[in-house]
Symmetry: D2
Subunit: 339 residues, 4 copies
C-alpha cells in the first residue's frame, strides 16, 4: 500500500504515519517528492489494512497495491486448470466446450428430446433448471425435486453430464445427487454462505458473474470456493447491467482475456442470458469463441415459444444446430476443437 500525504503535511505527521506502520509490524518507506511525500509499506503478507492510516493527520489517501486473491491466481497454475466432467474437458485453450439445454426442466419428454439431440451433435453436458430464481414470486419457480429426478434419469439414460443451479445451502446435497456440476447463478455470486458450502463439496462449480460484479469480485467469489478446498471451478460471463437497452444485459467479452491473464480457471460465456434475444445469440457465440473463451452455455429447447421461462432468448433445435455448424469452421481456423 502507498500512503500519500497532503502537500501541507508536516514532518511530524509523516513520522507519525511511519510510527503507526511500524506498530503494525510493517516497514515504512517515506519518499519525499516535489509536491508531497508518499510512504510505501512493505512486509505485509496479503493486502494492508488502510484504516489505521486513513484518519491520521496529514494523510490524503491510501492506494492499495496487492490483490486479495491467491488460489485463483494464474501464477498458482500457469498452464491453466482443465476440468474433466465425465470425460468432457473444459479449459486449457485447445477445446471449446458447449453446455446446452433448456432454461427450465419442464418434463422428462422435453429433456429426452434435448438430450438425444445433444448426444447426436457431440455435446456432452446438458443444462436444465430445477430451482429457478425468478424476479416475481408469481412466476414459475421450477419443478424443484421433480426436476432433479428428471435430471438424474436423463443422466443415467443418456450418459450425459448434467448441470443445474443450486440456490441455497439446504438443497446442496439433493442437487449433488442429480448434477455433475453445481451452477451458482449471477444473483448468488456473492451469496457467501452458498460459496462456502459448495467449497466443501468435490463436484465442480460453474460460477456466473454477478450483474454488477467487477472482475476482481468474480475472482474473489471463486477464491471462496477454492479456499474451502474445492479447486474445480469454472467462471461464466453472462452480461452485466448498464444503461444500454438494446439487449437484456451488456455482454462484457473483454473480461475473458483479462480473466485468463490473471487466473488459471476456465471462463465460459452465456450469450443467451446476456442478450435475451434469440436472433443475436449466434453472433455473440461466435465472438465468444473468437476472443478465446473456453466454452459456451446456450439455451435450447424443442418449443421455445411455449417455454415456461426465458423463451425469448432460447434457440429451437434447428437454431442450435445452425449455431454449432457456424462455429465449427471458426474453431478450426483458430486451431480449437468443439466438444
Amino acid at each position: 500500500m502507498l500512503v500519500v500525504m497532503k502537500s501541507e503535511a508536516t514532518e511530524q505527521q509523516i513520522e507519525a504515519v511511519c510510527a503507526e506502520i511500524r506498530k503494525q509490524g510493517l516497514v515504512p518507506h517515506p519518499m519525499p517528492g516535489a509536491g508531497r511525500t508518499a510512504i510505501g509499506i512493505t512486509g505485509n503478507a496479503g493486502p494492508v489494512n488502510p484504516l489505521p492510516y486513513e484518519s491520521l493527520g496529514g494523510v490524503d489517501q491510501c492506494i492499495p497495491v496487492t490483490k486479495g486473491y491467491k488460489l485463483v491466481k494464474r501464477e498458482m497454475k500457469p498452464e491453466g486448470t482443465v476440468l474433466d466432467i465425465r470425460g468432457v474437458k473444459i479449459g486449457g485453450g485447445k477445446t471449446f466446450t458447449i453446455i446446452a439445454g433448456p432454461c427450465s426442466v419442464e418434463s422428462i419428454e422435453q429433456m429426452r428430446t434435448v438430450a438425444k439431440f445433444l448426444k447426436n451433435l457431440g455435446v456432452g453436458i446438458i443444462r436444465g433448471g430445477a430451482f429457478k430464481p425468478r424476479t416475481s414470486p408469481y412466476s414459475f419457480q421450477g419443478l424443484e425435486q421433480e426436476g432433479l429426478g428428471i435430471l438424474r434419469q436423463i443422466r443415467d439414460e443418456f450418459k450425459i453430464a448434467t448441470i443445474t443451479e443450486v440456490m441455497d445451502t439446504s438443497t446442496v446435497e439433493d442437487v449433488a445427487k442429480s448434477a455433475d456440476i453445481f451452477q451458482i447463478g449471477a444473483r448468488n455470486m456473492q451469496n457467501f454462505s452458498l460459496l462456502k458450502r459448495v467449497g466443501k463439496e468435490r463436484q465442480p462449480v460453474f460460477l456466473k458473474r454477478g450483474m454488477s460484479a467487477t472482475m476482481e469480485e468474480l475472482l474473489m467469489a471463486a477464491e471462496y470456493v477454492l479456499a474451502g478446498g474445492n479447486y474445480q471451478v469454472m467462471l461464466c460471463e453472462r452480461g452485466v447491467r448498464t444503461f444500454a437497452d438494446h439487449a437484456r444485459n451488456t455482454l462484457d467479452l473483454s473480461v475473458v482475456p483479462s480473466v485468463q491473464k490473471l487466473c488459471h480457471l476456465p471462463i465460459l460465456v452465456d450469450p443467451s442470458h446476456a442478450i435475451g434475444r434469440r436472433e443475436f445469440v449466434e453472433p455473440m457465440a461466435r465472438a465468444a469463441l473468437a476472443c478465446g473463451a473456453d466454452g459456451l452455455m446456450i439455451e435450447v429447447t424443442p418449443d421455445p415459444d411455449h417455454a415456461l421461462s426465458d423463451g425469448a432468448q432460447t434457440l429451437d433445435i434447428a437454431g442450435f444446430e445452425a449455431l454449432l455448424k457456424g462455429l465449427r469452421p471458426l474453431a478450426q481456423a483458430l486451431g480449437r476443437t468443439i466438444n
Copy 2:
C-alpha cells in the same frame, strides 16, 4: 400488453396474432395506424406472457403494460405501512427513524458503549453484524453465534431493539432469537430462498436494495416476503453501482419519492455504505431526510479507525452526535420528529 406489428405485416399475420391472443383466453384489440398496426390485449389478471406472440410472423415487439407486483402496491394501503419495533415507529411520514451501530459486533464492551450512548440520544434501534458478507474469504467474517449472543444480551440489558443481517436460510432461527429485525443485505436482495424463508417469519424485514437492482426489482423482492405472509417489510436505499468513482457507490435518493408513490412500505437510507467515506455521511443523511425518507441506517462505533470492517465509513461517537444535532432543526422545519 401491446403487440406492435411491423409496417409490412399482412392482414393474415395480424389476424394470426389475434387468434393466438384469443387462444390464450384473452381479448385482442387491433388498432390500425398510419404506419403500422398495434394490438392491445385485455382480459389478463396479471402481466401477459409475451412469448406466444414475439415469434409470430409480422410481430415487431411486445410492450408490457401491467406491473408484476401486487401486495406492495401503494393502492393496497394508501395510508402507508407503519411498523412498530418495541415501541419505535417506522413509516407514515411524520417520524424519521434512526438505526445506528457498528458495522460488526466486535465485543460486549463495544456494544455496551454504543447502546448506552444511543439510548441517551433517544435512538431506539441498534445495528451490528454477527455474520458479515465480505468480498474476500480472508477478511473477518463476523463473530457469528458469539455475536448473536452479544446482541441478545444488549437487548435485554438496554431494552433497545436490535437488527442484524441474516445471510442464509439455515441461520434464520438463530437470528430470530437475537434480532428484532432481519436485515437482508444488498448482495442477497435476490436470494429468493432467503426471501421466501423470512416470509414465513413474523419479525420485520429490512431489505436493502441490490447494487444493480432496479426499483421494480426491489419492489418484487419485497413482494416475495409479503407473498409469504410477512407484511412487515421496510426497504433501504444504500447506493448503486455506476461508473462514478468519487464515492463507493452512487446514492440514488430519487428512488425514495418514487418508491413512496408506488409502494406502501417505509423506505430508509444508508448513507454510510453508499458513500464509503465518513466525512460525506452527514450531508447525505441531511439530504435523505429532506427528500422524505422514513429514516436512516448509520454506522457508528467508538473507535472506527480500528474497526474490523468498514471503518472508513463509520462515524465515531462525537461524529454521530454532531450528525444527529444537525438533523434536528431540519426535521423540525419539515414538521417531522426524529426517533
Copy 3:
C-alpha cells in the same frame, strides 16, 4: 403511443383524453381491460408528443411506440449502404475493412513509416489525429494545422485514404482538404452543431458512439447527418462507460448485430480505445470480426511507448502485423475478405 389510464380513472377522464387526442388531429382507440383502460393513438406521421396527455386526470403513463429515426432505418435500404473511399469498400457484409494508424500525427517520418507499412499489408485507410480531444488542457492537443498538412502529404505520396477527427464547425473546411473521412469522436456524438455542419458536406462521416449513448441515440445522431443530405455515414462502437474496471471501457459488441438489424449503415469496432490495453486488442478484434462488424479501427505506431497520446493501447508494427495475420483465417472461415 399508448396512454395507460389508472385503474381508478373515470369514464369522464377517459373521454377527456380521447377528446384531447382528437384535438391534436389524431385518432384515439380506447381499450377497456380487466384492470384498467389503455388508449391507443393512430394517425401520427412520426412519434406522438406525450405532453398533452401526461398531466390529464386519470392518466398513469404514456408508452411510445414509433421510433424517431427514418433515414437510417434498414427498411430505407435493405441491402445496406456500401461506402467507397478511394476504392476501399466499407459495408455490405462481404468485406471487413481495416482502418489503422497512430492516435496522433506526430511527424511526417512517423506517418511515412506507418503508411508504407499499411500499404504493404493491403490496408487502404490511415488514421491520425491532428486535433486531439484530451481530458486535460495540459496534455498534448495535437499538431493541428501542421498535422493536417502531414496527412495531405501522406495521401498524395502513398495514394492512401485518410481519416482524422474534426472537433468543431470552424475547422470542418480545413479538415475536408486533408481527410477523406471526417471522424466525429465519442465526446462529440451529440454535438449537434457539428453533426449538422458535416451533414452539409459530401465526404463520408465516421461517427463514434458516445460513452453513454444508447443505440437509439447513436442512430439519431447519424440521422442528423443524413437529414442534412450527407448519406455517407458509418458508425463505430468504441466501448461504453460502466462500473467494470478491468478495461478502460466496456466493449459492447452486441450493438453490432442490433444496429445491423435496424439500420443500413456500416458499423465498425475500435477495440484499441475500448480496452485501453495493447495486449487485449487482438482478442477483441477477432471477436468484432466474428460477430459481424464491418471493420476495425486500430491504433498502430512504430514506437508506442513514446507516443504523445494513448500509447498504452497502441500496437507496434509487429503487433499489428500479427493481429492481421490472425484475422485472415478467421475471415476466410466466415466467407469474408479483409481489405
Copy 4:
C-alpha cells in the same frame, strides 16, 4: 507515480526501470517488499507519463498519484469562489441561489410572464434555451437568434440576469450579447473547442456535468475554462446515466460535498433534468439544499403541458412557488439565505 514490479521481476529489470526514470529527469525510489518491489517516482511537476515504464520488462502496473487539475483546486482559493451576476451572489456557503425559467424560449409573452413572476419571488436569474440540443433532428431546435433577442429584451425590461446555452464556438459572440452566463450543456462538457473558446470570454460559465463524466473529468473540463483565463465558473450536477429506470437520470448528490472538498468553484443542482418528472423535482430540490449545494437550476413555465420541449419535467408557476415556499424554512434551519 508508483511502478509496481511483478513478483518474478529480476534485479536487472528493476534497475532498468530506475534508469529509465532517471533518463526522464525524475528520481526513482525502489522499495523491495515481501512479495514484490514497487518503485516510487518523485521530482515531477505534474502527473508522470506512465508510458516509458509500462512496457519495460518485469513491470506489472503503474499507479498514478498526482491529480491533473491545478487552477480549480480548493487549495488555490480555500475560501471558495463567489460569483456576482448583476448583484446575485453564487457560492460561498451562505447563499442558495435559484436559477429558473423555461426549457426553451418560446415567445416574448411566455418569458415576460415568467420573468415578472420570478422577480416578484426574488429570483434574480432567468434561464431559457435559444439553441436546443435535441436527440432528434426532427424535434424543435429552439428559436435561435430570435430567442436570443427575446432574452436581451427581457433582461433590459426586468433587470434580471439571463443564462442560456451556447452550443458551438460560432455563436459564442451572439450569446454573449444576450446572456450574462454561458451555459455549457451536459453533451458538450467535453467539447474542448467550446471550453477553450469560452475560456477567452469574461462572462461566467455554468458547466453541466456530462451524463457519464466522473467528478475528475468535470473538474478537468472546468480547468480548461480557467486555463484560458476565465475564472468565473460554476458547476452543475444534473444526473448521470445508469441502469436505473425509475427516473430519467440518476441524480448523484454525493458529488456535491466531494466537489466542494476538492474544488473552490460553486456547484449547483438541476433536479428537473435529472429526474425528468415534475412530481419528484421538489423532494430532490430539498435534498440538494440539505446536502450543501450552492443553488438550483429549475425548469418552470406557465403552461408546461404544451411546452415545446421537456414539459414533463417542468413545473408550472404554482408548482414553482410551492417549491420555493417549501425550501425557505429548510434554508433557515441550515443558516442559509435563498436568493
